[in-house]
Symmetry: C2
Subunit: 210 residues, 2 copies
């Protein structure tokens, strides 16, 4: 930036900036005016990086801030998620949390129990979504059980397409999201890991990993 603007006075620089930003605002306002549809979204957070569940819970808290009722179903327990759980206790008037998973599959080492737990969690999630009582339902780590074929992806996709009430948002997290799910989702973000502190021997810490 300094190469091009080295000869300009601060005043000229500021004037140029104001003009550029005026154009940017006009373009942005014009685009946003075309966005008029309101609808319940299917939102997917996937990828190998951190932040998938964290951003999912961030949306939960944002929605709770607005006074919406929110449902949370945890498909994989054993994730250390004490912090979120404790924070949600301050919203017990608005949030329903179901911790259904039986732990990471490498913790339980029992495939049939994992399949049963996945089924129970999905039935709980469907009931919450169908009820219309919740503006947003977070299906935390659903992608993991879909990836292990503990639930048929076709069933989940068909439900989200055909049975989800139009005004309910559903947020689905977990790495390795299935293509079939990405296909029908409205908003998909992939969290890419650029740098991770475990590589330098740093251990999981309270408030960061859990």
């Amino acid at each position: 930036m300094s190469d091009k603007t080295g000869d300009l006075s601060q005043e000229e620089l500021n004037a140029r900036h104001a003009e550029k930003m005026r154009k940017k605002k006009a373009a942005r306002d014009k685009i946003m005016a075309t966005k008029t549809i309101e609808k319940g979204l299917v939102i997917v957070h996937t990828g190998k990086g951190k932040g998938k569940s964290t951003a999912g819970f961030g949306m939960v808290f944002r929605s709770l801030g607005h006074g919406h009722r929110v449902g949370v179903v945890q498909f994989v327990k054993g994730r250390i998620e004490t912090g979120e759980r404790l924070a949600l206790e301050r919203f017990s008037d608005l949030v329903t949390v179901k911790r259904m998973g039986e732990g990471f599959t490498w913790e339980t080492q029992d495939r049939q129990r994992d399949i049963d737990a996945a089924r129970a969690a999905w039935e709980a999630a469907k009931a919450m979504i169908r009820s219309g009582d919740y503006r947003l339902v977070l299906c935390d780590e659903l992608n993991i059980v879909l990836r292990y074929d503990y639930l048929p992806v076709e069933e989940v996709v068909a439900f989200l397409k055909d049975e989800k009430p139009a005004d309910v948002h559903v947020v689905i997290t977990g790495r390795n999201a299935r293509d079939e799910l990405i296909e029908i989702a409205d908003l998909v973000t992939e969290m890419e890991q650029v740098k991770h502190p475990f590589r330098s021997g740093v251990k999981p810490q309270e408030g960061i990993e859990f």
Copy 2:
């Protein structure tokens, strides 16, 4: 999966799964045993996708859940972030929020005012981090003001390297993170946009975008 396992009984499939998961758990436990360092991290969320600030606020709520004191500095106001702000009100005993930015730069169209606001926000963030009163400090959208050269990146990097207390976590969000910052960060996640509903004419909605 079914191709390879079609001839196996459910029992054989379950046994094979149990063995595979036992090995996975052993490998994971061995790796985690080497992670022993505890330290305050510099965490960066960047990329063009959604979820950068949302995951930042997710970490804030997680930390608050643990009863930690948390500081939040918003470098760019005008972002519609009502939901987070309202949710944070339930943690007024633990959280300090400073909304310093003067709005997106294309809203204010006044470069000098943006520079002054960025400077004031950074001084507030430094004071919070230095004080040691906060376990985690979120510098929301700091990347944006660094990208516009409203603050010298060298100054920010030097502070984080040399003056940040060892046990304080600092989370920095915003697209276009500067390379100098990524270089010194402990944890960097890039949020990639795979699919966005604005493309189908859907407008920003309460609880989702704000």
